[in-house]
Amino acid sequence: MLKYLRRTAISIEGDRSAILELARGRLMFLGTCFALFFTVVLLRVIDLGVVQGDFARMDPVQVEIAALKAEREEKNKTVLRGNVYDRNGILLATTLKTASLFVDPSLVFEPEDLSRRLAEIFPDLSYAKMVHEMRQNKRFAWIKRSITPDQQKRVLDLGEPGLGFEYESRRVYPQGDLFAHVVGFTDRDGVGLSGIERNFESQLAAGQDVKLSVDTRLQHVAKREVSKAMADFTARGGVGIIMDAHTGEMLAGVSLPDFNLNDYSTAIDDAKFNRLTLGVYEMGSMFKIFSTAALLENFNVEMDHTFDARFPIKIGRFRISDYHPQKRMLTIPEVFMHSSNIGTAMMAQTVGGDKLRSFYADLGLLSKAAFDIREVGAPIVPSAPWSRISTMTVSYGHGLSTTPIQMAGAVATIVNGGFSIHPTLLMGSGGRSEKTSLRVLSQETSDRMRKLLRLVVTKGTGKNADVPGYAIGGKTGTAEKSINGRYERKKLMSSFVGAFPIDNPRYIVMVMVDEPIGNKKSYGYATAGWVAAPPVGRIVTAMGAILGMPTDHADPAKDISLELLPYLIEHKEEKKVASN
């Protein structure tokens, strides 16, 4: 009976409880789901707040991930233009954020008063113009762009709501006019227009810095001495080069007149012209270095080989004569030290036009140089094959024009043992290695040339370049400028190229002065010995002190040029006279 009742009770309950059970089951299910959901959320929150919070900061993996994310974000921002440095890390060009002042005329109620106060802060602005701008019916007008922080502060002190600042990037050149032609300038949008700024535009725009091989201190010295020479001799232009003889790195490259990179709009055209690399000039007697080297390299001649320099050479309608005629037979060292055109022309004839031309080409004098800036001039060369007269004039540097930088590079090749170098403005891209560099002349010829160059300074036309302590060897060159097809006797290009220390040359120093006029101290002479040799000597003195180069106050009796004395006829004459 009870059993039946329970069964019925259950069954009755069962009927309803089945539905109830179902409902209850569903509720249970839902409840569990929610509970699970909230548990997950709770756990996640704990995870974020506690686990990934303070603990994660110490976890190296997490830190690295965060750093990478930050880096990626940095790159997506607009990149600041790269800086330009010299070889010692001195800043030559950088970009700074400057404020530019604008006015909102609709917020200005007293234009006259405001303009007056602004005119006090910016004396170069016109009061009337500002008042006019403020009366316009627009919402925006520039007052002045790129103001200094000092001016910005004064404007803020005005407390004028109608004024505002826009921040712009501006290219700043801390060295002013010192590297005008090397570094170059940029336009308002920060795009390079000349020099390194132009040629390395893509690199700089991507934010990469450029390190140059130039040395600010040496650049200053070169500029100072070339300026002095120009001032002393009232010249119209000048060039100064200091180059590493082994790597071709330019330590100084000066072209005068120059201009201030921060203010290039006021520069005159002559100042913007890059005489270093773009100008092509007839180098005159400096080319005798190469003709003499060509002879020594291609023929097995002794130094006492003589040339008849008694009479000028007449060929066709041309006449080749010497500036200081010796009127006698000259040995090779004598031809070089007295800078005889006749002797050199004969040397060139011996070598022949073809061999001379290919020698010059190997020295990099004939073709347009590939350089680190785009402003490069193409040499003016007589067309091949060279005629007899061309060969002769080219030997003493006339009838062929090349750039000063190619000239310096060729002299470096002559004195560094004979290895061809590439002039460069960049740090560390040089580096001559015995295997990779092309050998243009033999070590023996290079050694003999060094002695000849030293002779020019000890006994020849370059005496004014001599500096005690640093043995300089070099060559003078006084070239008459060719204007409209005629050579002007009074318009000269006086130059001197020197290498020091001549026993093992490390640097080439070259100075060129454009159209010097003789002064009282030079007895009216404007030749290279008076004009260009002294600046080279002064530059070398300063370089020695700045770079800390060891001096060599060596016994003059050990000077390498003395090895050539036996080959000088005049020396033998002197000895004969002395012994009598």
Binding site: G31, F34, A35, F38, T39, V41, L42, V45, I46, L48, G49, I90, L91, L92, T94, T95, L96, K97, P149, V172, P174, Q175, G176, L178, T216, R217, Q219, H220, V221, R224, V467, P468, G469, Y470, R538, T541, A542, G544, A545, P550, T551, H553
Partner: protein, 140 residues
């Protein structure tokens, strides 16, 4: 009983998760503000560094330094004869200058105050001794 406990548990979890969410969110906002402020300061400092670097380079301009050196230090460019790297190359004719000892009690300049070992950080006036170069005495 069970059901009430269950309800309570669920309610508790919901409340806890909501509360912790709010707290964490608040903390995050605060941290984000801090980050933004720090980043603004960093970029301001970086710009200041750039300006200072440019200023430093400008002050290191050789022409400017040369003008300053000539005007205030009375220095001029060195002459080649004066540059020597190897003392053995100098002749032995140099005049022996009187070596001035550097101990404070030997050197004396009138009115100079030189701290001595005895009085520690004190200063003691000393009397003048001939031939001592006044500027060589210590006393920084």
């Amino acid at each position: 009983m069970n059901i009430y406990i269950q309800y309570f548990a669920v309610f508790l979890m919901a409340f806890a998760s909501g509360a912790s969410l709010v707290v964490v969110s608040h903390k995050v906002q605060g941290v984000e503000r801090e980050i933004a402020r720090a980043e603004r300061e960093i970029s301001r400092e970086q710009e200041a560094i750039r300006i200072l670097n440019a200023d430093w380079a400008y002050l290191n301009n050789p022409a400017y330094l040369e003008a300053m050196a000539t005007r205030y230090l009375n220095l001029s460019a060195p002459k080649a004869e004066g540059l020597v790297s190897d003392f053995s190359s100098l002749s032995g004719n140099a005049v022996e200058s009187e070596a001035v000892p550097l101990e404070a009690d030997r050197i004396a300049v009138e009115g100079a105050r030189v701290p001595t070992a005895e009085n520690g950080r004190g200063v003691v006036p000393v009397s003048y001794v001939a031939n001592a170069h006044p500027q060589e005495v210590g006393g920084r």
